[in-house]
């Protein structure tokens, strides 16, 4: 009942006509009175009601009068009926009295600490006490007193005295995010929100409870006592934490971000966001933040000017071009805005004259980018499969994706599909990950062997295949860890069952990078470098592409670029937001490449913070602006492009990534774009390829062959809260991170004598090790382990061989014998 009406206009027989305060209104059947009142512009006061939570009727504030009913009616729990006559507090003395009475009771135990409460100024209780409350309370007696505040997690604080027990937070945690670590304890007047003492509210979505709290009971450690809602400047924005595309509100004061909130966008994130999006802004002002260009002089990075820095890069590029064409490379890391990626793609092809471009720090299967280009062109530049499609899909197939860790808000939509629409979620892959609690069936495969399973679902006759062929359009979601050929197989599956398919990358700039053609062999808009017609369309906008790009076989993504660099075939390596030393799928190959280029050529790092790559290898470091500090647009996993606006000023010398690219081009004698609008105009003019290319043929089965001997093949999964630079300074947020573990199957645990929770040493390529506690996973296929990507020191990327494959051996850490006294 709390769900908004299904998409599509309701037909006349689904409408109910009623009268609210004398005004006639027709609303869909099943609409609650409180929602119907909103439609005629009347906001009935409420505390417990939230349109995205199940009705509960606890606070009793939303009293209205319904003709023919002797008792007051709670408008948040009663659906409309034909010819119902409703009178709200605007026209009914009974309703007004009811609301005043409830308000008086709510204030019995509410402290009058508004002047020091963070909620002051944006508090529904305060607003209603002002609007409808009595001037004086008759309450002479004693209020409840509690210790304050209680930390329900390192970033969420609870002042129980202020709580009106509307249960929004506990209902959110149960109904929406599914991690009820906060609950109502006790009963009666002592009822209170609480955690169990040794199980804090570690949820990726805990910040939402603060935002929906109708009083100042839940506050965040990062915003507490920092600002007033009426003293902050509010700017609508879009989160850059992942490819979810959540609407976000940035609130700043004196040029500093004070807090970030979820901005309601029912098409995308509804009213929610994740804690990473909400609380990660301290990195903007962290000590590691780059504020000035730097160059390496005598082995040390020293501050310099933009003109000197760019001149040094330009000199290096010219020198490289003197050696031969295509000896520069440009790698971005998934942070870039769509416009940045577009400029980077053009810079690389037309100015640097290279196809050594990549927007992914992972070693993606060779067919992934071409297959995504096909989906992009098929969708015609509009979103393909959408959140709404996923929500209403009767069956959802998920392969190579762990939504809660990678695209958290998509996880919430999957939960909604499961909870409200009984969607059947089918997980294809070596383990269930965080879909554990909501999966319907699993198709177990070895890591990388997903395509065969997807193909089998398309043509099989089992229970899952039957469900896929039932009513409604299924959704197929393919993630970054699905093996080579998965996207093509998933697309064919979707075609076979009349459903939709989407590739769900993790990083916010991934879809934009792909759309810009920032990958070997690709051009903007789903076009291919090898296709003459595609080339011609792009050349019409960009001017002629260098002849040597014509007909050259594209390299194998980042792996190919790094291999070339390690072999001395790259003189200049431009890294925009790519901390390859840490993030590249194979740290070993990345280090070799970086060392080679840093030694014989030039490494340029353009980033927000002084990353490990910058500190160790960069010859030139360029400071750039963050999302909150600039205008731009990003495309989410659906293919939905959304613009964001500058909320705060950047450090004085930082420039937007696209500006840095344009200036480098200018120094090299090319005039690219004068403004964001010029870039956007060209993006629009180029659009996407009118007719999609055919899907790439299935590659030969999984490139990740079975490891030899005792080795176990690792599924390397990023955790939402890891060691990433965009989490720098957000200590409270990082304190809620999930523990890094090595997931081991039951069979392997038994074979190796490893018990759940015990520390093991994980040894990878070249003898690199990390030591982690074990999590024995009943849902993991034998022969595989699950490792976090960059949550450990050293990161697991150090355990990969040069192909990016992580094959490991496990050894229990010997517990040191008790030392006698």
């Amino acid at each position: 009942m709390s769900a908004p009406a299904a998409p599509g206009a309701a037909s006349a027989e689904d409408l109910v006509t009623l009268t609210i305060d004398g005004e006639q209104v027709s609303v869909p059947k099943g609409t609650l009175i409180i929602r119907a009142a909103e439609m005629v512009g009347t906001i009935v006061p409420r505390f417990c009601d939230h349109p995205l939570l199940d009705p509960v009727g606890a606070c009793r504030q939303c009293v209205v009068e319904v003709e023919g009913q002797p008792k007051p009616v709670m408008s948040c729990t009663v659906p409309v009926a034909e010819d119902m006559v409703v009178r709200t507090h605007l026209t009914s003395a009974m309703a007004r009295r009811g609301q005043e009475g409830t308000l008086e009771l709510l204030l019995v135990n509410h402290p009058l600490d508004c002047p020091m409460c963070d909620k002051g100024g944006e508090c529904p209780l305060q607003d209603q006490a002002l609007a409808h409350g009595a001037n004086q309370s008759r309450f002479l007696d004693q209020k409840r007193k509690y210790e304050k505040p209680v930390a329900v997690s390192p970033q969420v604080l609870l002042d129980r005295e202020r709580c009106v027990l509307c249960a929004r937070c506990t209902r959110f945690s149960e109904q929406i995010s599914g991690d009820p670590f906060i609950e109502l304890f006790e009963r009666g007047a002592l009822e209170q929100v609480a955690i169990y003492e040794d199980e804090p509210y570690h949820s990726y979505f805990s910040g939402n409870t603060i935002q929906i709290c109708p009083v100042g009971a839940l506050t965040s450690t990062s915003y507490r006592f920092k600002a007033r809602s009426f003293d902050v400047v509010t700017t609508p924005s879009v989160c850059d934490g992942c490819s979810a595309g959540c609407g976000q509100t940035v609130q700043s004061r004196r040029g500093e971000v004070q807090r970030q909130l979820a901005r309601t966008n029912m098409d995308v994130n509804e009213a929610w966001n994740c804690d990473k999006g909400r609380f990660s802004f301290p990195h903007l002002t962290h000590a590691q933040r780059l504020t000035t260009p730097m160059e390496r002089v005598d082995g040390e990075l020293v501050p310099t000017t933009w003109s000197r820095a760019l001149a040094r890069v330009a000199d290096a590029v010219r020198a490289s071009q003197d050696v031969g064409p295509g000896r520069t490379a440009l790698v971005s890391g998934g942070r870039l805005a769509d416009e940045d990626a577009h400029v980077a793609a053009r810079l690389a092809r037309t100015v640097l004259g290279t196809d050594l471009v990549e927007h992914r720090t992972r070693f993606a299967p060779a067919d992934e980018a071409p297959a995504r280009a096909v989906l992009l062109a098929r969708a015609g530049g509009a979103p393909g499969l959408t959140y709404a499609d996923v929500e209403h899909a009767p069956v959802i197939v998920v392969a190579g994706l762990d939504p809660e860790e990678e695209v958290p808000v998509l996880h919430l939509r999957l939960r909604k599909a499961w909870r409200q629409h009984r969607a059947r979620i089918v997980v294809v892959g070596p383990h269930l990950g965080t879909l554990d609690g909501i999966a319907w069936r699993r198709v177990a495969t070895a890591p990388g062997a997903e395509p065969a399973a997807l193909a089998a679902l398309a043509y099989g006759d089992g229970e899952i295949a039957a469900a896929l062929r039932g009513d409604g359009a299924p959704a197929v979601l393919v993630g970054e860890r699905a093996g080579a050929g998965s996207l093509a197989a998933g697309t064919r599956l979707a075609e076979a069952v009349g459903g939709g398919v989407a590739f769900v990358p993790r990083r916010a700039g991934d879809a934009g990078g792909l759309a810009a053609g920032l990958a070997p062999g690709l051009l903007p808009g789903g076009r291919l470098l090898a296709d003459a017609a595609d080339r011609a369309e792009v050349e019409a906008a960009w001017g002629p592409l260098p002849a040597h790009l014509d007909g050259a076989a594209p390299v194998d993504g980042l792996r190919g670029i790094l291999a070339a660099a390690a072999d001395g075939a790259v003189d200049v390596l431009l890294l925009a937001g790519a901390d390859l030393a840490r993030d590249a799928q194979s740290a070993a190959l990345a280090e070799r490449a970086l060392a080679r280029v840093a030694g014989a050529g030039t490494v340029v790092v353009q980033d927000l913070a002084l990353t490990e790559t910058a500190a160790r290898y960069a010859d030139v470091v360029l400071p750039v602006t963050a999302t909150q500090e600039r205008d731009g647009a990003r495309t989410d996993w659906e293919g939905r492009a959304q613009r964001f606006r500058r909320a705060v000023d950047a450090p004085e010398l930082a420039q937007d990534d696209w500006e840095a690219f344009v200036q480098l081009a200018a120094v090299l004698g090319h005039r690219l774009y004068g403004s964001l609008d010029a870039i956007r105009a060209e993006q629009e003019q180029l659009g996407v390829r009118a007719a999609a290319h055919p899907l790439p043929e299935a590659a030969s089965a999984g490139s990740t062959g079975a490891p030899s001997g005792d080795a176990l093949l690792a599924v390397v999964r990023p955790l939402l809260l890891d060691g990433g630079t965009m989490l720098a300074g957000a200590d409270d947020l990082r304190a809620t991170a999930r523990a890094a573990t090595v997931g081991v199957s039951r069979a392997d645990a038994a074979r190796l004598g490893i018990v759940d929770g015990a520390d093991v040493t994980v040894t990878g390529a070249g003898g690199a090790t990390v030591t982690l506690p074990t999590a024995v996973l009943p849902d993991l296929v034998p022969g595989a382990v699950v490792l976090p990507r960059t949550s450990t020191e050293p990161p697991v990327t150090r355990l990969a061989d040069e192909d990016g494959v992580v094959a490991v051996t496990l050894a229990p850490v010997a517990v040191p014998a008790e030392v006698g006294a």
Partner: protein, 235 residues
């Protein structure tokens, strides 16, 4: 005897008694009290583990009901009704006398705990004191004092209502858990059949028609135990 694998197995027996395992939470908390004498941290963890709940969910339930104790109760729990009928007949005086005699609500040494109770459903025999939920009615102040004294000696008399000599607190909690009811051979298969029905009981019947579910899983086939069984994930 702390909570161990025997308790865990008994908790599982209780869970199998219902088509939806969570129904066993109240009996399970009684079982925990029969072992630890109160709802201990280990007990909360046990319930959470067996039922697939968070500890907060278990504690949320445990703190709602007055029979679940936060601290060790000794062998003898004396509940004194002080509602109007008993109050008029001297219930409050009995309660206050007990507290004076013990110097508080607990006599750890004798293993006696005294609590105020709301109506015990035996107003015709006011004033009433329960010893481990066994009724003693129509008590004079002297009789009431003697009852306390007998408990402190560890030898309460037979109830003048039921004729039963109350067992010690942990024993009566074991009775209340129902673990020894002796009809599991009937109830467990019946519950399993209901749970496996084509249109089975929902995990959460909820407050609305919305199918409300739970991370611990829905026996209707989503996640959780049924899923694990179907997927062959349970050893």
């Amino acid at each position: 005897m702390p909570i161990d694998d025997t308790t865990r197995e008994e908790a599982r027996v209780l869970a199998r008694r219902y088509p939806v395992a969570r129904s066993a939470l109240l009996p399970m908390l009684h079982l925990v009290q029969s072992v630890d004498g109160y709802v201990s941290d280990d007990g909360v963890a046990l319930c959470a583990e067996v039922l697939g709940l968070t500890k907060a969910e278990v504690a949320s339930v445990a703190t709602f009901y007055t029979m679940y104790k936060r601290e060790q109760v000794g062998d003898w729990l004396l509940s004194v009704c002080t509602n109007p009928t008993c109050q008029v007949a001297g219930g409050q005086a009995i309660h206050d006398g007990y507290v004076d005699a013990l110097g508080g609500h607990h006599d750890a040494e004798a293993g006696v705990t005294v609590e105020h109770a709301e109506c015990l459903g035996i107003c015709g025999d006011a004033p009433v004191v329960q010893v481990n939920y066994e009724m003693y009615g129509r008590l004079s102040q002297d009789e009431a004092d003697a009852l306390l004294a007998s408990c402190r000696r560890g030898q309460p008399p037979a109830s003048n209502v039921s004729g039963v000599v109350p067992p010690v607190f942990r024993a009566v909690e074991r009775e209340l858990s129902g673990i020894d009811d002796g009809v599991d051979a009937h109830l467990a298969p019946a519950a399993a059949r209901q749970a496996a029905a084509a249109n089975p009981p929902a995990w959460r019947s909820g407050e609305t028609d919305l199918p409300v579910t739970h991370p611990g899983g829905d026996p209707a086939g989503h996640g959780g135990e049924a899923f694990r069984a179907a997927a062959g994930l349970e050893a």
